[in-house]
Chain length 217, copies 2
Amino acid sequence: MNTSLAITNRSLHDQVANRVRDLIIEGVLEPGSRIDEAGLIEELGVSRTPFREALRTLAAEGLVIVRPSKGSVVRKLTPEDVFAMLEVLGHLEQLAGELACARATDREIAELADLHDRMLDHYRTRDRMPYYKLNQEFHSRLTELSKNETLQDMQRNLQARLKRIRYIGNQRPEYWAGAVEDHEAMVVALKARDGKRLGQAMAQHIANTWDRVKDSI
Amino acid sequence: MNTSLAITNRSLHDQVANRVRDLIIEGVLEPGSRIDEAGLIEELGVSRTPFREALRTLAAEGLVIVRPSKGSVVRKLTPEDVFAMLEVLGHLEQLAGELACARATDREIAELADLHDRMLDHYRTRDRMPYYKLNQEFHSRLTELSKNETLQDMQRNLQARLKRIRYIGNQRPEYWAGAVEDHEAMVVALKARDGKRLGQAMAQHIANTWDRVKDSI
DNA sequence: TAGGTGCATTTTGTATACACGTAGCAAAAA
DNA sequence: TTTTTGCTACGTGTATACAAAATGCACCTA
C-alpha cells in the first residue's frame, strides 16, 4: 500500500495537467479561448513536451479540444452539453447512493452526516466558499461509499467539468436553500440505509441543479 | 459544414493512440505487461514524442497505467475492476435505454431492429466474429439513440475497456443463447417504446454479462 | 553464502531544434 | 471594388539530443 510518507515526486506533465486543469476550472483560461502554448509554458516554466502531454490528458478528460495543426481551445460547454452531463451525473449518483446504502459502514455514514452538519453551519453564516468546497467533498465522499472505483472516476470527471457552472449556479439565495434541503433529504435516507430513496434524492438533486444553473450558462 | 470528402489528416499521436489501443484490446499487448517504448516506436515507425502523447491519452482512458520514471504497463483488470465497470455500464445503459425510448425516431428504432435481425442470422449460423462485431455496434447505436453525447462517451470508454473480456465471455454456447434472449427482450421493449422495461432489460443484460464472464478473468 | 554497496547500462523524462501546415495579409487581376 | 493567388510569419507537429532516474550486475564485506 502506498501511504503517507511516500515522496510523491509526480512527473512534470502531471503537475502541469493539474495546474492547467485548475486554471480552466477557475476560469482564468476562458471557455472557447485558444490555449496559448508559448505563453503558458513561459509562465509555468516548463518546456513544450510535458505541456503537450498534459494537454492530451486534459483533452481525454474533455476539458480541452485539440484541433490538429490548429492548436487547442478550452472546451466551451453549450447548454445541451451541460444538460447531458447532468443527466448522466444524476444517474451515476443515483447508483452511488443505492450502493452506498448497501456497502458503507456505520462509521462512514456518521462521518458524512458530520460533514453535512458542518455544511449547515456554513449555510447559516452564509459562507459560500467553504460551503461550496464541502459540497464538492460531500458528493465525492458519498460516491466513495459506493466502493466502486469506476463510478468514482466518472463522477470525479463530471464533477470537475461542471465545477465552474455549479459554482455560478448557486448564486441566488433561494437556490442555495433548495440545495441544502436536497442534501438534508439525502442524509436522512442514507442514515436509514434506504437505497431506493437515497438514489431518488440524489437524482432529484442533480435534476434540480439543472434548474438552478440553466440560466447562467 | 464539414462533411464527407474532407481529408481527416489526423495527427500522428491520434493514429498512434488508436493503433496501440487496438493492440491492447486485441491482446497483442498483454495485460500487466510493460510497454516497451523503444520497441513499439521502432515497430510503428514514429518517434517518442507522439508515442508518449498517445500513452497519456490511453492512460486517461484507463487502458494503461504510467508510473513516473518506471514506465507504463497495460492495465490489468482484476475481477473487482470488471465487476465495478459492469455495474456502472449496466446503469449507464439502463439510462440509455430509457432515453432512447423517449427520443429515438421510428426510423432509428427500425434500423436497430434490422441490426438485431442480422445478429440473429449470424447466431443461427454460429458465426461468432461477425455476431460479436454487430453486438458492439448494437450497444453503441442504442446508446446513440439517447441523444446524450456524454453518455455515449462514457459508454464507449467502458465498452473499449471491457472489449476483450466480453469477447472471451461469450465462448460457451449456453451463454451466447442467453445473450441473444436478452437482446430479443431489449428490441421488443424498444419497439414498444417502453422505457422502463428497456432500461431494466439492459441493466439485466449487463448483470448477466457478469455471470457469463466472471470465470474467465 | 547472504546481504549490501557502487558502478554501468538501460530506460525514462525533459528540452530544444527543425520541418511542416495554417492563416493572414498584400498585391494583382477581373 | 471585389476576388483570387501567392508570399510570409507564426504556431503546431515531430524528431532528436541531452539529463536524470532506475534497474541489474558484479564485487566486496560480514
